[in-house]
């Protein structure tokens, strides 16, 4: 069966520090991968998606970047965090298209 992992689960970082969040998928090959950010109790904002290794599409211009170094690994990064980067970051995967997405447990990021 397929599983999706995210780590860390919780992160507290100072403003201006770098960020690296990791997402890995097991039990499937060549998935589409997605990064979303969610404000408290609200909807999801798509940040990046990837249809293959090294292929990244950015939906929202900001100080975040994403990389896909391996088929089932998706990384969200920042060189210098802003207060506004705080939120709940969710990774998801799908096979045929975005109509059926499977989400990871999320990473809660607090920038102070």
């Amino acid at each position: 069966s397929q599983t999706i992992h995210q780590w860390p689960a919780t992160l507290v970082q100072p403003v201006g520090s770098p960020l690296s969040l990791e997402c890995t998928v097991e039990g499937t090959s060549n998935p589409n991968l997605y990064w979303y950010r969610q404000a408290a109790g609200r909807g999801l904002q798509l940040l990046f998606y990837s249809v293959g290794i090294g292929q990244i599409s950015s939906e929202v211009p900001q100080n975040l970047s994403a990389s896909r170094p391996q088929d089932r690994q998706f990384i969200l990064s920042s060189k210098k965090l802003l207060l506004s980067d705080s939120g709940f970051y969710l990774c998801a995967w799908s096979l045929m298209g975005p109509e059926t997405q499977y989400f990871g447990p999320g990473t809660r990021l607090l920038v102070l």
Partner: protein
């Protein structure tokens, strides 16, 4: 990108009552997904509707897609505390802001 509007924003009911939440757009949906998200977890897909007028049932949950494919509703019969969560509608990569449902025991 289609704007998905969900209402109400918050809903609190007693166990055993029924509830309905709505998802609307000014555009026509190609398909629509409903997810439920519990606090501190990722959303879980409940259903996808694709045909105008379609009705899908998942135990006590009934999902309806409008004839014009611009709106959808989720009805829960005899709500239970386990139904508590954030209900999100989505059109592929676009998500609504969600309805927070609280079912009191």
């Amino acid at each position: 990108t289609q704007l998905l509007e969900q209402s109400p924003q918050f809903l609190s009911i007693q166990e055993g009552e029924n509830l309905t939440v709505y998802c609307n757009s000014s555009s026509v949906f190609s398909s629509l997904q409903w997810y439920r998200q519990e606090p501190g977890e990722g959303p879980v897909l409940l259903v996808t509707v694709v045909t105008g007028g379609e009705v899908k049932k998942l135990k006590r949950l009934t999902f309806q897609f409008g004839d014009a494919r611009k709106d959808s509703s989720l009805h829960i019969t005899a709500a239970q505390p386990g139904d508590t969560g954030l209900y999100l509608c989505a059109n592929k990569l676009s998500f609504g802001a969600g309805t927070t449902v609280t079912v009191r025991a």
